[in-house]
């Protein structure tokens, strides 16, 4: 069990968004949290990665309790979060953005090898290595965000809405990449708005509504239940 979430509650100021969530991710597993916008998916990921401090509940990562840890401590432990909207360093080049991904000391030593590997995986980044991140197109930014996430020595990769704002062709590519990443052995926690492309990488699926999990189960079963998905995701 690489990630254990128990009774997680979190919110913004007086507003509670998550009302007690339980979730686990095992090594090499692909877990997807599905839910319409505004129901807490991003909040969940932010509470896990430490950007947001939980108001109640416990979080355990590789056996250590990380509930009160800072975001940078959690990232250093190998829990990498690729947030919604990419969160790139706009005034830095593609190359520098990727290097920052290896900031953690352990990864920094091998940053040159890691970056070569990422360039192999995502050749469009290699050809744009000297461009400022703010000058990239939407799809390229997404690729950069994912590539940056790979630069770390991650044990668990959390991705928030990988397909948001992308053209359909790019969406395919993005999910293919994520699937490839998962197949290489990395555990993945994905937050997504629709279930269209996740069948290849999801082992288990959770349905999130208004800050609570209303359903969970093996991906095959849930994804096959079209009626449920239609009623729920619309």
């Amino acid at each position: 069990m690489i990630l254990e979430v128990e009774g997680l509650e979190a919110g913004y100021g007086p507003a509670t968004v998550l009302h007690g969530l339980d979730l686990t991710v095992s090594e090499g597993e692909g877990v997807v949290v599905l839910g319409p916008n505004g129901h807490g998916k991003s909040t969940l990921l932010r509470a896990i990665s430490g950007i947001l401090t939980p108001t109640a509940g416990t979080l355990r990562f590789t056996g250590q309790e990380i509930t009160a840890w800072r975001a940078d401590e959690i990232a250093t432990a190998g829990l990498v979060h690729i947030p919604q909207g990419d969160a790139l360093f706009g005034e830095m080049t593609v190359h520098d953005n990727l290097l920052m991904g290896s900031f953690v000391k352990a990864a920094w030593e091998q940053r040159h090898e890691r970056i070569e590997r990422v360039y192999e995986l995502l050749p469009q980044l290699k050809s744009r290595y000297n461009l400022l991140a703010s000058n990239l197109s939407g799809g390229e930014r997404r690729m950069l965000a994912i590539g940056r996430g790979l630069m770390a020595d991650a044990k668990l990769l959390m991705i928030d809405e990988p397909s948001l704002g992308l053209a359909p062709l790019l969406i395919e590519q993005v999910y293919e990449q994520i699937q490839a990443i998962k197949e290489s052995g990395l555990a993945i926690l994905l937050a997504d708005e629709n279930a269209d492309h996740i069948s290849g990488l999801a082992d288990r699926v959770f349905l999130l509504e208004s800050g609570l999990f209303v359903r969970e189960g093996p991906a095959e079963a849930l994804l096959a239940d079209e009626a449920l998905l239609a009623a729920y995701l619309g």
């Binding site: 800072r70 940078d72 790139l88 830095m92 920052m100 991904g101």
Partner: protein, 291 residues
């Protein structure tokens, strides 16, 4: 022709000093969005530390690192007692200005109490001067330009390619993303503060060796440094360096061709014009500063 050369040399000298003075301000703004109005007090503190070292008989070469160290420590102290408690609180914009002004006055008063109001002089590392094609160049001026250029280049490279330097750039651009990469944000703020203060101390010693030193002598240089920073673009290291030299040359030219009394007014008018026409400065990112 010799006037032009004199103005150019004066410009290079002034620009080097302004660059050192302003770079700390821009760094701190970039990282923490803090307009550090205590920066002037940090110059003076560094200069007095060096003066104390000289006063007990040690050479200026020892005084300079001491100045940097003393200012750096003060900067760290300021960070811990004043800046850090206020981080993330609403009302940061106004509170940070007030707090740094308060620190500035307190430091100034403390300096006055400890060292007295009389003007002090920091001797040059190498006294004397030489004349090159009818331009008077002082050796101390050369030393200053050398130290400043080396420091600025070193800083630039540090920010560009070192792990910590890149982290500093990262937190200036996107704090949350930096944290997600494992950058300890608050510790990095402290680092920026120490570097910024140390540079202020260095600028203070160098400046005091060509001008005089008194508890209040930090105010006007700080205003000029602020103007340089704004002109170059708040938060842009490259912009600040370029702006420093441009303003240095402008001031020097005005001094040579129009006379010293005009220097400040022209400078201020120029900056007012700049702020109206292009507030983001030369290289600044126009982050929504127009209504």
């Amino acid at each position: 022709m010799s006037e032009l050369l004199q103005a150019s040399w004066g410009g290079v000298l002034a620009g080097s000093v302004y660059g050192l003075m302003a770079i700390g301000l821009t760094l701190i703004w970039g990282a923490v969005r803090l307009l550090n109005l205590a920066h002037g007090a940090l110059y003076v503190a560094g200069a007095y530390a060096a003066w104390t070292v000289i006063n007990i008989g040690l050479p200026l070469a020892v005084g300079i690192p001491v100045a940097v160290l003393a200012a750096g420590i003060l900067g760290y102290g300021m960070h811990v007692t004043v800046i850090r408690p206020m981080l993330g609180r609403p009302g940061w914009d106004s509170a940070s200005i007030i707090a740094t002004v308060g620190v500035a006055i307190a430091l100034q008063a403390a300096t006055l109490l400890v060292f007295g109001p009389r003007v002090k002089q920091i001797p040059a590392v190498i006294p004397g001067s030489t004349v090159v094609s009818s331009v008077r160049i002082s050796y101390q001026g050369l030393v200053i330009v050398l130290v400043a250029v080396v420091s600025l280049v070193a800083l630039f490279l540090y920010l560009r390619s070192s792990r910590q330097g890149m982290a500093i750039r990262a937190i200036s651009q996107h704090m949350d993303a930096a944290a997600l990469m494992g950058v300890p944000v608050h510790r990095t703020y402290a680092l920026v503060m120490i570097i910024s203060a140390g540079l202020a101390g260095l600028a203070g010693v160098l400046l005091s060796s060509v001008l005089f030193l008194s508890p209040t002598s930090g105010f006007t240089p700080m205003i000029i440094a602020l103007l340089v920073t704004i002109f170059g673009g708040l938060g842009s290291v490259k912009g600040t360096i370029v702006a420093a030299y441009l303003i240095g040359i402008l001031e020097s030219s005005v001094q040579v061709y129009l006379g010293g009394a005009w220097a400040l007014p022209v400078l201020f008018l120029f900056i007012i014009f700049m702020l109206i026409v292009r507030p983001s400065g030369l290289f600044g990112v126009p982050e929504a500063q127009r209504l």
